[in-house]
Amino acid sequence: MKDPRAPDHSQARGGPLHAGREDRTEGLTQDLAPALAREEAGDPFVLGGETFTSRLLLGTGGVPSLEALEAAVHASGTQLVTVALRRVEASAAGSVMQVLDRAGVRLLPNTAGCHTAREAVRTARLAREAFGTDWVKLEVIGDERTLLPDAVELLDAAEELVAEGFTVLAYTTDDPVLGRRLADAGCAAVMPLGSPIGSGLGIRNPHNVALLREAVDVPVVLDAGIGTASDAALAMELGCDAVLLASAVTRARDPERMALAMRQAVEGGRLARLAGRIPRRWHAEASTSFEGLPAL
């Protein structure tokens, strides 16, 4: 990889991201240099060996209509959409799938509703058969009221599915230690909740999410709890690689508009992360110089 701080006069660069690049890199710390390098490469999101340009994963649960789903998928710009497996109903043949096939998105089957490692592993195997993909959003629920993950069953299931060749994206708590165990087990991504599924309570423990981001080398996808655009932006500012949300869009009054809001929030949060925010201060720091202040 070329040194991102080295001046490059080989081609004219357009677009605001690249304006004044040489000036911007002046005094950059070593830590920020890789981030800038990624930005300059178009900042692709690599997950399970696949490259995505969108960092917004969309769940389809709770959609009011197929029309709303189609509009939301389009507005969100998502390239990866979660789906579930349920007992077949002849009347519902293919409808949701037709919308998603038309949109050209990649499908990510989940194991929603599973309470044990055994159930989740079996569901993942069935999903692999139905969808022809070995990607799975692993979800093992330990409590009905909160739908919080069962850490023990989750880790067991993750280990077994990785051994069977699955690309496992693990829905987990925001516990950095559990996140590291999942990454060590070979999960392709760790997906901590911000707050309980569908609660819209946002990110209750931003510090834990940031710690988890530091603790693992695989992508971290904030999954669950997003209520509105600022929550999604915060996830990205904390260093998450992507955001997965469903209810915040599908149950919004206007899902299409909220999908667009989420897309822009994820992009804005990502840019802010790469740009490097200013430190928080207890007191003010004047933005206008006092030098040359007239005596009046």
Binding site: G59, T60, G61, G62, V63, L69, T82, V83, A84, L85, R86, R87, V88, E89, A90, A92, A93, G94, V96, M97, L107, P109, N110, A112, R122, R125, L126, A127, R128, E129, A130, F131, G132, E139, I197, G198, A224, A246, S247
Partner: protein
């Protein structure tokens, strides 16, 4: 013969296969998975897998989900 399909008792012709079951229960679906007594039956084995009385079968299809 009597089997259980998606939690309900069902009567199927003797010698019916998983492929017969899918054709009957999931017409028009192109992404279907079948579990027989908890184990997945690969699509490539549907036609060759004869059902036996008392089998517990799950015939699953995609749906919207988080």
């Amino acid at each position: 013969m009597q089997v259980t399909v998606n939690g309900e008792t069902a009567e199927l012709a003797d010698g019916a296969t998983v492929a017969d079951l899918v054709a009957h229960r999931a017409p028009g679906h192109d992404r279907v998975a079948v579990a027989r007594n908890g184990d997945v039956v690969p699509r490539s084995s549907w036609a060759a897998t004869a059902l036996t009385p008392g089998d517990a079968l799950e015939v699953l299809a995609p749906t919207a989900g988080g």
